[in-house]
Each structure stands twice: as structure tokens, then as C-alpha cells.
Symmetry: C3
Subunit: 194 residues, 3 copies
């Protein structure tokens, strides 16, 4: 991954750990509960992807930036009472960018180890929504992806598909830019209509 992708990937980790922390607060968990939910939300999707790819230990364990970033997001949510309704437009924009980057990175990595297009779309989507699904399971909720009313998972599938199309047609950079742009726009439309 290049630097811009890594930065956006880590932004996703931070924001999803923060979001996990707001859910932990709603459920009145203690500090340990915050940490479990924050780490699962921020790192879970990438961990599942890397375990399925079977190409060495997950990036979340080998790159020293990931765990601290997840802990930082969780820590902010533990110290400050941030709740989703308060989220500013900037926040929603970053959240949309993170979802799109995760779906795009997951698809890229999958094709990068020589797997096909459908597995790339599948693992791109899992990267983007897997952490939230683990969080929901731990908190005994039916995972949000099963009733995709907020079009979160559907956008992840589309982003991963555009990314795969870009790689398959020989335009990986343009594909990534198009995939992430499309993802952010669709998320903004979904929130606006929501």
C-alpha cells in the first residue's frame, strides 16, 4: 500500500474504534469492554481478511501503527461522550472515506495474492463491514449487515467491484480513485436520503 492508502486505512481504524466506543458507552461497558469493542470494530475486518488470505500474520499485528491507532480511537470515545447523532459532516465524510478505502484495500490485497475477482469483492466487503459485524455479535445484536437499511454493506460491495474492475482492465490507480469517489458519494446520498 502507498502512503495515502495507509493513512486512509488508519483513519478507518481510528474512526471505527471511536464508533465502537460510542456503542460501548451506550451499553454501559467498563474500560475493558470499551477496549474489546474498540479493537474488534477497528481491526476486526482486516484481521478476518488476512486470516482468510493466509499470507503471513495480519497487517494489524505486523504494522506497529494499527493497535495504537485502535487504542487511541477507543480512548477518545472512553474519555469524551461522543454520540453518533452529534457527528459533524466532516465526521460522516471521513467515515464514508474509511468504508470505501477498506473495501478498496481489501479487494486490492486479495487480487495481489493471486486470487480471483469474486473472492476480491467478497474480501473487500468483509474488510469494510467485518469489524462492525464482530462488534454486533459480541454485543448480542443481529449484525447490521443482515438488514442493510443504511446501505453500508451494499456500498462496500460496489466499491470493491469497481476496484476489481480497475485492476482487471489494467487501470488500477484510476479504478481505486473511481471506487473510493463512488463510495463516498453513495454514502453521502444514503445519509442524505436516510
Amino acid at each position: 500500500m502507498d502512503t495515502a492508502t495507509t493513512v486512509l486505512d488508519l483513519v478507518g481504524v481510528f474512526l471505527n474504534a471511536l464508533l465502537g466506543g460510542t456503542v460501548a458507552r451506550r451499553d454501559r461497558l467498563d474500560l475493558f469492554g470499551f477496549l474489546v469493542i474498540g479493537i474488534a470494530s477497528g481491526l476486526g475486518g482486516g484481521l478476518i481478511r488476512d486470516v482468510l488470505l493466509q499470507h503471513g500474520p495480519p497487517a494489524a499485528l505486523t504494522d506497529p501503527a494499527y493497535i495504537p491507532t485502535a487504542l487511541a480511537g477507543t480512548g477518545v470515545a472512553f474519555l469524551l461522550d461522543i454520540s453518533p447523532p452529534d457527528w459533524s459532516r466532516a465526521f460522516k465524510f471521513l467515515d464514508a472515506a474509511a468504508l470505501s478505502v477498506w473495501a478498496s484495500v481489501g479487494a486490492q490485497k486479495t487480487m495481489g495474492v493471486g486470487l480471483g475477482r469474486l473472492p476480491a469483492i467478497l474480501l473487500g466487503t468483509i474488510t469494510a463491514v467485518g469489524g462492525g459485524a464482530i462488534r454486533d455479535l459480541l454485543l448480542q445484536r443481529v449484525p447490521a449487515v443482515l438488514q442493510d437499511t443504511r446501505w453500508y454493506a451494499s456500498v462496500a460491495v460496489l466499491v470493491a467491484a469497481v476496484e476489481v474492475l480497475g485492476i482487471a482492465t489494467g487501470f488500477p490507480v484510476a479504478g481505486t480513485v473511481a471506487a473510493i469517489t463512488l463510495g463516498v458519494l453513495l454514502r453521502i446520498v444514503a445519509e442524505w436520503r436516510g
Copy 2:
């Protein structure tokens, strides 16, 4: 795996994705929910097995037939209102065959990478019932294997054990035939007594 085994393995993927879809319908999930439950039901057991074996990416990701087969089973269940009580005898026979093939294939693969007999029985069973357990967890049900009233998981253990016995005594082909035949017969008896 030889061709006959692969075909039966894929029949299992199709049928379990279809079965997952009928459960998704009962829970009134949307299309995305159908896809998640169908893929988890059809591919989940093999994914867990291959992740535990640590011998390269899961067959469900490397063999291009698996994801489309799971999607096809899910798609049929989304389009047609098939419910388990309607299942014909042919359907139940195929279901029994798939369970037995999955348990047999899981045990074979485990011994094939040099692991022992108990791990082979364990992973054969996980292959056969793991997808259903993930489906139940996602849908917030206590997994059916914990109260094996329908003798599903018990039959999987027996099939895997007979498969292991065949390999250990030097009669792998006879063992597989015996294991799958036994599994189908026991499932039919269990349904008939049910």
C-alpha cells in the same frame, strides 16, 4: 479431491446456501442479508477448516466454482419461496449426502496435511456443521449443534470417524464409500424417526 467428491462438495454448498436462504426469508432479511447468510451457510464450514489447517487460502476462495455456487443457491432461495417442510425426499437425500460428503472431505483433508485422527474427526465435523453454526450465530440463535436433537452433528462425527478408520487401515476408498453410505442411511433413519 476427485471429480465425484468435488461435485458432491459443491452440491453441499448449493443446498446449504439454499437452506440458509430459507432461514433468511423466515427472518425477513433483505437481499444483502440473504447473501450473507447464504454464503456463511454454504462456505462457512470449509472456511473454518481451511483457516485452521493453515495450508494456503481456503478452497472456497481459490476454486472458482465455490462462490458462484453459493450465490446461486442463495439466489434461488431469494427468488422462490422454498420452505423446509416442502422439501421433497430427493431434497432430503441430497442434504444427507452433502452433510456426509462434507464430514468425509474435512477428515480427508486434515489427514492429507499430516495431522492426526482426532483433529481429522474434529475438522470433519466442523466442515459439516460449521456453516450452520455461523448462520445461527449471525441470526442470534443458539446454534443447533448445542442441542443435537436432529442428530445432524452426531452423524457428522460418525462419518468423519469412519473416514479416518478407512485411511488409517489403508482402505481410503472403501472408507469413504462406507462413511458416506452410513451417513446417508443414518440421516434418513433420523428424519424418519424424527
Copy 3:
């Protein structure tokens, strides 16, 4: 792992399978349910750790002592009605030792394959509490680690951190002894304060 560590590791498997069995009894599961819960409780944490480390099949599958030990613990809990309130002081001491050994072994293994200190603390903790979390998920309970009122998971984090400190400062043996001693003492204090 040296012999003493392996023995304590297996003591942990036996005790946690036994503990899983007592939970299975409370939920009136059948024999198969006992086996699933006992194996998940006894082997689950180590399985998650080894799958994340991506260094060959999990020890629970390659070392022939693990599955039988988990089955033995489950079998005792199935045959005898042991309930946690009856547990003697010796039992609680062994339980505290097993938690500490699991956290220490998990951290050791992680650093042993070249990963860093934070991943080592994370995987040490997952080794120690992961099996119980899987058990809780299967039984549709909110995992105990999310409300760490009994200070189980917090002690695991501390034990793993002391273990990492010992390795990082060049005193691995002293670190392990200190980590496990601290873990046992803290568990005893936590139980005593109740």
C-alpha cells in the same frame, strides 16, 4: 515450550473444558453440546491465537495431548455434577494458574515469531480469555470480558505485559515467573474481595 509450561497449559485446557461443561449443564445441553462447549472453552483461545500468528496449524491440532485433554475435562463435567460454587480453593488456585499461564504463553509465542510488544499483549490476552468468549457467544450470552467485573481479563493483560517486559529486558525466565506469580496473586485477591 518447556515441560512445565506445557503441563500448566494442559491443566488450563482441562480446567476450562471442565468449566465449560458446568456451563453446558446449567443450560441443559445434550452430550454433543457439552463437547462443543468443552472444546471451545478449552481450546478456543489458543486456536484464535495460532490462526492469527499464521505459523502452521494450531498447537491444539498438532500436539496429540490437547484434544484428549479437552475431551477429558468435558467428560468429567458430563458425568459428575460439579458446579462453580463447590469449587475448592485448590481448584481456584489451578484456575488462576491456568489463566496466567495462558496469558504468558500467548505473549511468548507471539514474540517468538517476531511480532511486537503490543501484539504480544493482545494475543496473550486473547489466549487467556478467547475460549470463554467463544463459549459465551455460542450460548448467546454477552461475553464476560465486556464487563470485566471479576477482573479476569484485566489480570490476563497484566500477566501478558509483565511477560513482554521480561522478554524485552532480556530476563525471559524471571519475567515468566513474575508474570505467573503476579497473575495468581491478583486472581486470589480478586476472588477474596469478590
